[in-house]
Amino acid sequence: MMASQYTRSGLFPFPNSNSPLLSSPSLFLWLSFCFTTFYYYSRLATQGQRKVRCFVYCRNKSTPRTTYGFTRFLYLPSLLMEKNGKSMISKAIGHVSFVMRKCLFSILSIGPVPAHIAFIMDGNRRYAKRHALHQDSTNPGSGHRVGFKCLISTLQYCYEMGVKYVTVYAFSIDNFKRDPQEVQSLMDLMKEKIDELLTEDSVLKKFDARINFWGDLQLLSEPVRLAAKKAMDMTVHNKGPVLSVCVAYTSTNEITHAIEASVREKQENAPIEVSDLDRNMYTAGCLEPDIIIRTSGETRLSNFLLWQSDFTHLQNPNPLWPEFSLRHLVWAVLEYQNVHGYLKKRKGEIEKNK
């Protein structure tokens, strides 16, 4: 029969074979790898030709042409050389990773993808201690620097996956109780990184993302406050996903602020209702988080998004924040997809009753 000639697969019918490479899932991966390698090699060859030009005369010998024939292989040594300060190999790996992530996120998107993920980025200092990162009086924030790199890569993964809102708990009002030197280094780091986020090759620019800063910004030092305001003004018209940074923030402070705002807008003796507080929260207009992830295994919310976390799935993976990687994020989304049906049903019942 014709069907018996093919492996059992919904993707790629192929003649029967005992080779593991030809079984359907690995075939798909193998083909992806080949395609990516060929694609990228072609791009490298084209770039190499700009360095070493070779003229091939066709019928009209006066027209110089660059070659696309076998001679592209001659340019291989030049392709592996440093170009613009970035290794070709690292660029190649980056492109391969990007394609693999696209495949992975396509598979993930078969289920519901969360629209809003919030992160409590816990574990930077423990990471620095564990890895004996250089910490002295001039650089007490080395763990936080590593944590920032993790934030950028996590943001990239989230936006590539299609997550619209990402919220991070960068600095709590309670954190002002820490050692003044650490607080100052965090303020300096924040200013530096806010400026970095506005540069041309930043993740915000890449995705046309908007940035919000939620919290009592008056508590921040002036350079940080001005940098935050500048960042918000510069990105206010961006149409892409949203990054919300909670800085000088606690949920109880946010609720108190919402009460004061509700009182100001209400008429004398008018009662304050849940909808009034909702409208005056820093997060007004933003979807409630679908997932709150706190790294380092801690299971506290620590005064973060308490009002907004009614139907939020709370997760507490063990890795410290700088160790949080793509696979942890994928696992978090899979766990969310597992409970999504039930949460949606419960939410629907309550909305119907309102």
């Binding site: 009460i259 299971t299 119907k352």
Partner: protein
């Protein structure tokens, strides 16, 4: 106290059977809390969001809460438990409110453990009600300063300390609009056991998990 409905469904029983079975779990947990030295337990008996359930289940829950409080109040009084009520008055059956008030009055002087029954309770509703009362006092000149510390005095049970641990059964990992203000720094412990299957040993295991945590409150 999550999992009553699922417990009943697993046994092909009506949901109300799960709630009935859950009563013994609650009071076993209260006795276990007294044994281990816990001073305050709050139980999420009926949420403002539970009104969305079927009318038959809501009617059962109202009557059930009333009967449980009436049935158990003397037992709680003998154990030295002080019963408190946290929740809103609107929509709550008058008979339930009356039983809660009688239990509060009877156990007013007890000090072994405070059991707060959260009936018709919602975290957001509590904060809105507290804001309302606080603003009324501020407008009447009885309150000079509005901040987080003064706000906490307007919660349903202001003398109750903030929760050290929020324990949710049945494996659900959500806060579900419960004690939003009081659980700001609480350790969340999630247990896979359904509420009717819970006993004091599960509470002790949850407390053991809590005891292993390092609570820093945002500082070093």
């Amino acid at each position: 106290m999550d999992g009553n409905g699922r417990w009943a469904k697993q046994r092909d029983l009506p949901r109300t059977a799960g709630h009935t079975e859950g009563e013994s779990s609650l009071f076993d947990v209260v006795e276990g809390a007294i044994e281990i030295g816990v001073k305050a337990v709050s139980a999420y008996a009926f949420s403002t969001e539970n009104w969305s359930r079927s009318p038959a289940e809501v009617k059962f829950l109202m009557g059930f809460n009333r009967d449980v409080i009436r049935r158990r109040r003397d037992e709680m009084h003998e154990l030295g438990v002080r019963v408190r009520w946290a929740g809103r008055r609107p929509r709550l059956w008058g008979s339930v409110v009356k039983e809660l008030q009688v239990a509060e009055e009877l156990t007013r002087d007890n000090d072994v453990l405070t059991l707060t029954m959260c009936v018709n309770y919602g975290g957001r509703a509590e904060l809105a009600d507290a804001a309302d009362r606080m603003v009324a006092d501020a407008r009447a000149g009885r309150l000079k300063r509005v901040d987080e510390r003064t706000f906490a005095k307007y919660l349903y049970v202001p003398e109750l300390p903030d929760a050290d641990m929020v324990w949710r059964t049945s494996g659900e990992q959500r806060l579900s609009n419960y004690m939003l203000w009081q659980a700001a720094y609480s350790e969340m412990v999630f247990t896979d056991v359904l509420w009717p299957d819970v006993d004091r040993r599960d509470l002790w295991r949850a407390i053991t998990t809590y005891a292993e945590r390092d609570r820093r409150y945002g500082s070093a």
